[in-house]
């Protein structure tokens, strides 16, 4: 493990006013280091997605600070950097649904992330193919999303998220639409990405069967974050 890629300090987010006021984040602090795979657990409405969107610079908190790769990006709820540019270059997103662009092929969906970051041409194509190959989709590059299975679509989405080599990968229930076998494959893929590519990975999940994959487990309840020890990894058979 290395220095934190993402560090948030005392984040506070409130929805509504008066009687309808709901505190989604109660002075939440969290950090995820390079090469670390962290899980974010919690019941529905506990504030997991709010925290994830705050860390992804999509939904700013009213209070608190966020550092990305050592740079302050949000200070007391105000953006102090070009958030679109930060998202484009430093954060990869994976969602419950793959959310691929339906009129682009798998390779083009990956290349899109590169193109948005001004990377086009032969090197971009090679990078997209390399990623698809890395994720076991080397022969699916010319397929459109509708021609791929749910698991394959999710892997294309992961390839897209990794295209610009972001130091931070945020995933919001990425296995919810997959069966348990494919869900575990995806979680192990995140672990491999974190360890091989040095990314910090934060995954919102409900799936307790895959918790052994994670280095760190955070749990949210009523907007507050607690950290619990990861389950004991089963000893490998001699």
């Amino acid at each position: 493990m290395d220095h934190p890629v993402i560090r948030a300090e005392l984040l506070r987010k409130v929805y509504g006013h008066g009687e309808t006021e709901l505190v989604a984040l109660r002075d939440v602090s969290i950090e995820v280091a390079r090469g670390e795979v962290a899980a974010l657990l919690g019941p529905s409405g506990s504030g997991k997605s709010t925290l994830l969107t705050a860390l992804g610079l999509l939904n700013l908190p009213e209070r608190g600070r966020i550092w990305l790769d050592g740079c302050l990006t949000v200070d007391e709820g105000r953006a102090v950097a070009d958030l679109s540019a930060v998202r484009r270059t430093r954060i990869g997103f994976v969602f419950q649904k793959a959310n691929l662009i339906p009129f682009l092929t798998a390779e083009e969906n990956v290349r899109l992330a590169l193109q948005l970051n001004d990377q086009v041409g032969r090197r971009a194509r090679e990078r997209a193919r390399e990623l698809l190959h890395y994720l076991g989709l080397g022969d699916r590059g010319e397929h459109y999303p509708e021609q791929l299975s749910g698991g394959q679509q999710q892997r294309v989405a992961i390839a897209r998220a990794l295209a610009n080599r972001p130091p931070l990968l945020l995933a919001d229930e990425p296995t919810a639409a997959l069966d348990s076998h494919r869900g575990r494959d995806v979680m192990e893929l995140f672990r491999r990405i974190a360890h091989e590519q040095g990314a910090a990975v934060l995954v919102v999940t409900h799936d307790h069967r895959t918790l052994d994959v994670f280095d760190t487990i955070h749990e949210m309840e009523d907007g507050a974050l607690t950290r619990r020890p990861p389950p004991v990894q089963p000893e490998a058979a001699p």
């Binding site: 969602f95 649904k97 682009l104 899109l112 948005l116």
Partner: protein, 374 residues
């Protein structure tokens, strides 16, 4: 990788059919411009074909194309003796209507001063110019008369000896050229007074104007100034006669057509705006995803603007294709030249840019977090 084009490719036929519908609208806009140019050409074709530096018409009138004008027959001789005048020929013009109520045929009868003017300047599709002082006529092809046909007008039969193309009045009626003597006979027979005169005697039909040609080097304005004091005539130069025709006779049509074009342009813009807005709404999630991935605003604006321009370009191409097939079958001449094509092109660009605004505003309001709600 062009996102706008990829999205359009996905839409396929829907986009093409939208472009076709837009093409029909643009074709009408193009036709409006072409019809106006056709009217200008129709209105001035006779003027340009007649050899005249000055039009001498009835006092205080604007000439035979604008209103009724009659001049004394002796005017021809009075003008011929003026210094600087090369020739002076009478000219008779009136519109008559033949056929029955259900199928009326309107004919612009032009009386040429025989033998000075025989219609040699008229471009003939077939036949020849007038070769005899009596009972011969040259007709425009829009009248549907064949070479050699015999046409009863008044109490005479007239032989069609030549057929022209594009010689119609400002009202679109085909012209028939006869000698002035025959024009007198036709118009005299048609005149309502004729039935009231004893013994079948026809009323005298006076010329509409006298066409004056000047000697080389003679200033038309100077001769015109000399004739100001003549009590029974008003003199117009050929240029003034042309301006009177364009600004007086067809100006209302120009305004009407202009209004139509404006309305059609607004309708086209609204349609393009609706199409683009719906296309933008349909890909809200894709736009939210692009924003979430950090796409710059110009990428999203560019995508919608490009689609709008492409839709406009398809409509423009369709309009030209439709026009090239359909305009030839319009009852009035439709003249579409480079000016009309450039005008429509500029209009299409303006419409496309303006129409994309609604879609762009909508796209910019889509929050990137929308993708999480899906």
């Amino acid at each position: 990788m062009n996102l706008a084009w990829r999205d359009i490719r996905r839409q396929g036929l829907r986009f093409v059919f939208t472009g076709l519908g837009l093409g029909l609208l643009f074709a009408i806009v193009l036709a409006m411009g072409g019809i106006y140019q056709g009217m200008v050409a129709d209105a001035t074709v006779l003027l340009d074909a007649l050899p005249a530096d000055l039009w001498v018409v009835q006092r205080d009138t604007r000439g035979p194309f604008a209103e009724r004008s009659v001049v004394p027959r002796a005017l021809e001789d009075r003008l011929r003796v003026l210094d600087g005048v090369a020739s002076a020929e009478t000219f008779t013009y009136a519109t008559i209507q033949r056929g029955d109520v259900a199928h009326p045929v309107r004919i612009g009868v032009v009386g040429l001063s025989w033998p000075g003017v025989q219609g040699a300047a008229l471009p003939l599709l077939s036949g020849r110019s007038l070769g005899a002082p009596h009972r011969e006529m040259i007709v425009d092809q829009t009248l549907g008369l064949d070479l050699g046909a015999r046409v009863p007008l008044g109490d005479e039969l007239y032989d069609v000896v030549g057929v022209t193309k594009g010689f119609v009045s400002s009202g679109g009626d085909g012209l028939a050229f006869v000698t002035e003597r025959d024009a007198d006979a036709i118009l005299g027979w048609m005149a309502p007074e004729s039935s009231r005169l004893a013994g079948g005697q026809r009323p005298e039909v006076l010329p509409s104007a006298v066409l004056v040609r000047l000697l080389p080097g003679v200033d038309a304005a100077e001769v015109q100034a000399r004739l100001v004091d003549w009590p029974d005539v008003t003199v117009w130069t050929a240029g003034e006669q042309r301006d009177l025709l364009l600004h007086g006779v067809i100006d209302k049509a120009r305004q009407q057509i202009g209004l139509f074009r404006t309305l059609l342009s607004i309708v086209s813009a609204i349609i393009v705006a609706l199409v683009l807005y719906n296309m933008t709404v349909a890909k809200s999630y894709e736009i939210a995803l692009l924003k979430l991935m950090g796409a710059r605003t110009r990428v999203i604006v560019g995508m919608i603007l490009q689609q709008s321009l492409l839709l406009g370009a398809i409509g423009y191409a369709m309009a030209i294709a439709i026009g090239s097939v359909a305009f030839a079958h319009f009852p009035r001449r439709v003249l579409v030249g480079p000016t009309e094509l450039v005008q429509l092109g500029v209009l299409v660009v303006v419409i496309s840019v303006l129409a994309s605004t609604a879609g762009i505003v909508r796209a910019l309001r889509i929050p990137p977090t929308l993708i999480l709600a899906g």
